[in-house]
Assembly symmetry: C2
Homo-oligomer: 337 residues x 2
């Protein structure tokens, strides 16, 4: 069985990784259609010795497709996901548009794969920080019962797209060459700085990114009472997010079991040997499949408390990889066509 696969938003930072991972992971596609805005239509995108001409997204773009991964932002998803749905093309959506829709499953394949199979045409991919944080917390939740999450993020610039990655590079080169540092993507200089602001603010002073960790975690884990406090921070790192977490659990933590839970979970690595200077870091967890957990230690600041540090590639597990894992899951279950 092979499929006709589409990518909406093929020119973006995530779109590029989707093309790469579809090939590297040998997803069984017979045809690949790259869709983007009229601005990008006609451009040629290549991978290895193959190339594709990007087509402008239109109502009938989805007619022939079996499955399409959307990564072009919320408004594009809102516009075209219902169209694809109508044509019987399964949508895996990277945007936040449908994540909290009760008719749309929000899926991390290692955590809630069954939810994907109940889809009605659209499956949502979680927020990048949420996916990476839950990859570290879910194995512990299964064992001890998660109650409270207090998180501070260290988010790489490529999470804001290719332009943001370029902006950091341009700022660093400008500094190195003694030139003026300019900014366009972020409201403040990101080189040599940290910015406690990711996505838009609400009236109570939370950012949408911070609320995603609350709302999406509750939905994925089916934990309506989960309490989450989060501060999201952009750091001058090219790639891979890190999250400093202090969590409380229903049951007392046994460190041996906690470590084993992390080690035994698929696509999560325990990197927790501080005496040998081993802990997860973005430079080691970029362009790799697993997320990593380290700095695990009990704390008495909250009941049955544990502090830990989680790192993962936000373009992969936080976006492209998770989306393709959802497609792989559907394929394995014979649920695409």
């Amino acid at each position: 069985m092979t499929y006709k696969v589409g990518i909406l938003g093929a020119t973006g930072a995530v779109g590029q990784e989707i093309i790469r991972l579809l090939h590297e992971r040998q997803f069984p596609f017979s045809e690949l259609k790259l869709l983007a805005s009229s601005r990008s239509a006609g451009k040629v995108q290549s991978y290895g010795d193959q190339s594709w001409t990007i087509e402008e997204t239109k109502e009938d773009s989805f007619k022939e497709l079996d499955i399409c991964i959307f990564s072009a932002g919320g408004s594009q998803s809102e516009m075209y996901a219902p169209v694809a749905q109508k044509h019987g093309c399964i949508v895996i959506d990277n945007s936040s548009a449908f994540r909290m829709d009760p008719n749309v499953p929000l899926v991390i394949p290692e955590i809630n794969p069954k939810a994907a199979l109940g889809h009605k045409g659209i499956i949502a991919n979680p927020n990048c920080s949420t996916a990476i944080t839950l990859m570290g917390l879910y194995p512990l939740h299964k064992m001890f019962g998660l109650k409270t999450v207090i998180a501070s993020t260290y988010q790489a610039v490529s999470g804001s797209g290719a332009e943001a990655l370029q902006e950091l590079k341009d700022q660093l080169n400008a500094w190195s060459n003694g030139q003026t540092i300019e900014k366009n993507v972020y409201p403040h200089q990101i080189a040599f700085n940290v910015i406690p602001h990711v996505d838009r603010f609400d009236s109570e002073g939370h950012t949408r990114e911070e609320l995603k960790l609350l709302n999406e975690s509750r939905k994925i884990l089916q934990l309506d009472d989960l309490a989450v406090a989060c501060t999201c921070v952009r750091v001058p790192v090219f790639r891979a997010h890190s999250i400093s977490v202090t969590a409380s659990f229903e049951n007392e933590i046994d460190m041996v079991s906690a470590r084993k839970a992390i080690q035994d979970f698929p696509n999560v690595e325990l990197v927790d040997d501080p005496d040998n200077l081993k802990y997860p870091m973005p430079i080691n967890y970029s362009e790799v499949v697993p997320c990593a957990v380290g700095r695990m230690r009990k704390t008495n600041v909250i009941k049955n408390g544990l502090s830990l540090w989680i790192t993962g590639d936000q373009l992969w597990k936080g976006a492209a990889l998770n989306a393709i894992q959802i497609a792989e899951l559907l394929h394995e279950e014979g649920a695409i066509r």
Copy 2:
């Protein structure tokens, strides 16, 4: 009244700032003696149009001095502070050597100035992250009663000294010029990376830096039951530390009063206007006296909970400035000679 002032460790990143701030803040000194190891002795240090020849630290270096600021690491402090004490030279010590000594006051002048006056020859300057965190938390503690602190830090490289600052610059220049990135000061590359490791690890997986926030906060605030969980992280920022804090208090938080408490406290600025993209950032709080507090919002993850973001110059409020403020306090109280 003018004083004979010494600086032990005058060539370091903090030592340089002490020289600068003694001048900029017009501390009344009649003589300045710069002390360092034999390696640096004979070198000439200048500020403005003045210069000093660095002397090797010896037993009788402190004989003529009224006050000496130590910033040469714990072992130098342990060796020479008792000598200075014997000669009647007041020591203000930046190292961690005496901070937890019950005979040595640990002082942030805005918070516990009276403790300084009870000294027996040595006054300790707090850890950089602790000083900056408490500048943000103490005004809230006075109003609501601090109980629990959960903190994640974003620490600038100059906190590790001048060599670390140079290492980040060298790594960035190497990257910009397409050369290999080398490392000596940190165990891992710091450019484009974050390292969840500041100071040495203990057997339970905490770093000494993380435990300083617990132990020093308890001592400074005289809160033996204060609970602290902290993860300390080095980030590729030249200067100024930031701390993401979620704290719980005895009493319910009233946000209007909380903001006013921050605004009314000396040397702390409320920078909390997210709609206008205003929040504290290291690039805005380097080489300035005040620390800044922003991103203030209530949270229900812990009782009477509040999340906030604090930024301050770790070479100033976290080290040199706080030390000089202690000297100024002693001078104002006529307690130096």
